[in-house]
């Protein structure tokens, strides 16, 4: 990769560059800037940053602050400091909280164990320079291009007890035989997860296809010359080189599991059996009861889990970039 421009001392950055060394002014870009340039640059970086901080980070901080209050949203003077009460209520007496946490975990486990390896498998097959590869890719990738809301409606047609594809095919669409895929609290999470997996596999396939393009063909040839079969080559040669892709896939999958919302909202608004943290937060806003502090407390739980993933990932990513 290219040289790092964000190094701490500009001298070091300029030194090895042969183009700069030949010139009289061995400096980083900074010293060439006029006052006007500095103002322009300040605005260029400043305005987007203000927008981003105001709408993303200040609201995240406000979530944390509000989590310790009770507020019905009407007037600032009705904000009351309640300490840890929201969390206490959440952890001990909210019947939806722990199921929601569990479902978010199940969501992640299912996505990482089923569609992710399947996407990798598809990518490996499609990477063999076979004919019609584009056509197959498009078929698997189509769901990724569509809105999750639309996917929700499409799968409702599949799951409908009366008219749906599954019940029609297995003959469960007659009274007395109905299988209510979305209404049954023991089934609906799995029904949603099938739809989510359907989309996730295509996404993972594309990420892995890109990763596989980066695998040096010479490695594979060497492995084949050594008499390794296809599986051995994959296990010992190809898969280890996919490490950077695997990291991205892991992070993307965790984030997707934490963000999961649209499908469930379209299916049954997170009632009975499909509760998710994201749904609980949203219900506190667009539901009848506006409990700002309580909703924020759930958001803080979500934030803490997210940061536990985001921070290590960013540290690893940016440390590598610095070295590069």
């Amino acid at each position: 990769m290219s040289t790092d421009t964000s190094t701490e001392n500009p001298e070091a950055a300029a030194e090895p560059s042969p183009g700069a060394a030949s010139r009289k002014r061995p400096t980083g870009h900074r010293r060439l800037l006029t006052r006007r340039d500095r103002i322009t640059l300040g605005l260029m970086a400043g305005l987007p940053t203000i927008l981003h901080i105001a709408l993303v980070w200040l609201t995240a901080l406000a979530s944390i602050a509000l989590a310790f209050t009770s507020w019905n949203g009407i007037g600032f003077d009705s904000i009351q400091w309640v300490g840890l009460q929201n969390f206490r209520e959440l952890f001990t007496s909210n019947p939806q909280f722990w199921p929601a946490v569990e479902h978010n975990v199940v969501w992640f486990v299912v996505l990482i164990l089923l569609p992710t390896p399947f996407g990798l498998f598809l990518a490996v097959q499609l990477d063999k320079s076979i004919r019609f590869s584009r056509v197959y890719q498009t078929a698997f990738f189509l769901p990724v291009v569509m809105s999750l809301a639309v996917i929700g409606f499409v799968w409702q047609l599949v799951y409908n007890p009366d008219t749906g594809l599954i019940n029609s095919v297995i003959g469960a669409n007659k009274p007395g035989h109905y299988i209510d895929w979305i209404g049954d609290p023991d089934l609906n999470l799995w029904a949603v997860l099938i739809a989510a997996s359907w989309r996730h596999a295509g996404y993972m396939m594309i990420l892995y296809l890109a990763g596989l393009k980066g695998v040096d063909p010479a490695l594979r040839e060497a492995s084949a010359l050594d008499g390794a079969n296809e599986w051995q080559t994959f296990k010992n040669v190809v898969f280890p080189t996919l490490r950077p892709t695997n990291t991205v896939v892991l992070v993307v999958t965790i984030i997707e599991a934490l963000r999961a919302f649209d499908l469930v909202f379209v299916f049954n608004k997170g009632a009975q059996g499909t509760e998710l943290l994201s749904i609980l937060v949203t219900n506190n806003i667009i539901g009848e009861s506006s409990r700002i502090g309580y909703g924020s407390a759930i958001a803080v739980v979500l934030l803490v889990i997210s940061l536990a993933v985001i921070i290590p990932y960013l540290i690893a990513t940016f440390r590598k970039e610095r070295r590069a």
Binding site: M1, T5, S6, S17, G19, A20, G28, H29, R30, L32, T34, D37, T40, L41, M44, A45, P48, T49, L51, A54, V56, W57, A60, A62, S63, L66, Q125, I130, R131, F132, P143, V145, M146, S147, L148, V150, F153, V158, T163, L165, S168, N173, G202, I206, A210, G211, I255, R259, F261, T282, I285, I292, S296, A299, L302, L303, S306, T317, F318, E321
Partner: protein, 295 residues
């Protein structure tokens, strides 16, 4: 495996393994498309026929009636326009603003660069629900009489544009800064020595070189913003103002007795993204992997 001399390399002779692979791929691909094909079949059949004969039956006739009905009865043009009003400025602004930040962090060696980049990248990884509660209150709080129809940031296209820009600029800044960093140093340095202003540097030298990355991101952003459901569900309250995806939610509530019509509506909603994808497939895929290959 020895190939026939002179045969083109692409055309491997028929091998059992290849036949097996193709069979597997064809079957899986069809299974993958089954939900969509099922929706398409339902959408092309009149409700009267399916309710009488059941859905697994040979269709007497296939029509586009449900599509035209869904389109006209639910005023879909209106919602498509709403989406356009949100998505076009959001995509353009996101690209403009994030390319400016990317330019700042990748072409100069300021001390804040790394923190700035971390801030944007991390912000984009947060689940939207983490920030929605205060954002919702904030949007209700900001009065914009005369500027938006609702008189507030809440329930307005402007509000959606702003949050899309703020949120998506994280990913775009990350991708674009990596891209700009790979451009040779001498390029901008020489221009600076010659006395070009930084704006000129950005606008006339760096930005044109970023066209491939910008095209890829534009494709990706259009699809993401078009597909957005969450922001619109929470931040738009009037059905009239909704973009197409959340309007579909209302439509299905209205027409839940006719699944064929809902199927048609859902498929119509998906058409623009499918077109974008088929036309700009290469850009879309490279956009997705621009961010992922680093890491």
């Amino acid at each position: 495996m020895s190939t026939v001399a002179g045969a083109p390399k692409q055309r491997t002779p028929i091998r059992p393994a290849r036949v097996l692979l193709h069979t597997f791929l064809v079957v899986t691909a069809l299974a993958w498309l089954a939900p969509l094909l099922w929706a398409l079949l339902a959408a092309m059949r009149p409700y009267a026929e399916t309710s009488e004969k059941g859905y697994v039956s040979w269709p007497d006739k296939l029509t586009l009636d449900n599509f035209t009905n869904a389109f006209t009865q639910s005023d879909m043009t209106h919602y498509f326009v709403n989406t356009l009003i949100i998505a076009v400025p959001a995509v353009l602004l996101t690209l403009l603003l994030s390319s400016m930040v990317a330019f700042y962090v990748s072409r100069f060696d300021f001390r804040v660069n790394l923190s700035l980049l971390l801030l944007f990248t991390a912000g984009n990884l947060l689940p939207q629900q983490v920030i929605i509660t205060p954002l919702y209150r904030l949007y209700l709080l900001i009065d914009l009489p005369g500027i938006t129809m609702s008189g507030k940031l809440y329930d307005s296209a402007l509000g959606l544009v702003l949050i899309h820009v703020a949120f998506q600029s994280g990913f775009c800044t990350f991708v674009l800064s990596n891209y700009m960093r790979s451009l040779p140093h001498e390029l901008t340095e020489a221009a600076l020595v010659d006395g070009a202003s930084v704006w000129r540097l950005y606008w006339q030298i760096v930005l044109p070189l970023c066209k491939p990355a910008m095209a890829a991101l534009a494709t990706l952003l259009s699809i993401w913003i078009y597909n957005d459901f969450f922001w619109a569900i929470v931040l738009i309250s009037t059905g009239e103002n909704m973009p197409i995806t959340s309007a579909l939610n209302n439509l299905s509530g209205q027409y839940f007795t006719d699944p064929n019509l809902v199927a048609a509506g859902a498929l119509l909603t998906a058409i623009p993204t499918l077109i974008v994808y088929f036309v700009l497939q290469r850009q879309f895929v490279s956009g997705l992997t621009l961010g992922a290959n680093k890491g």
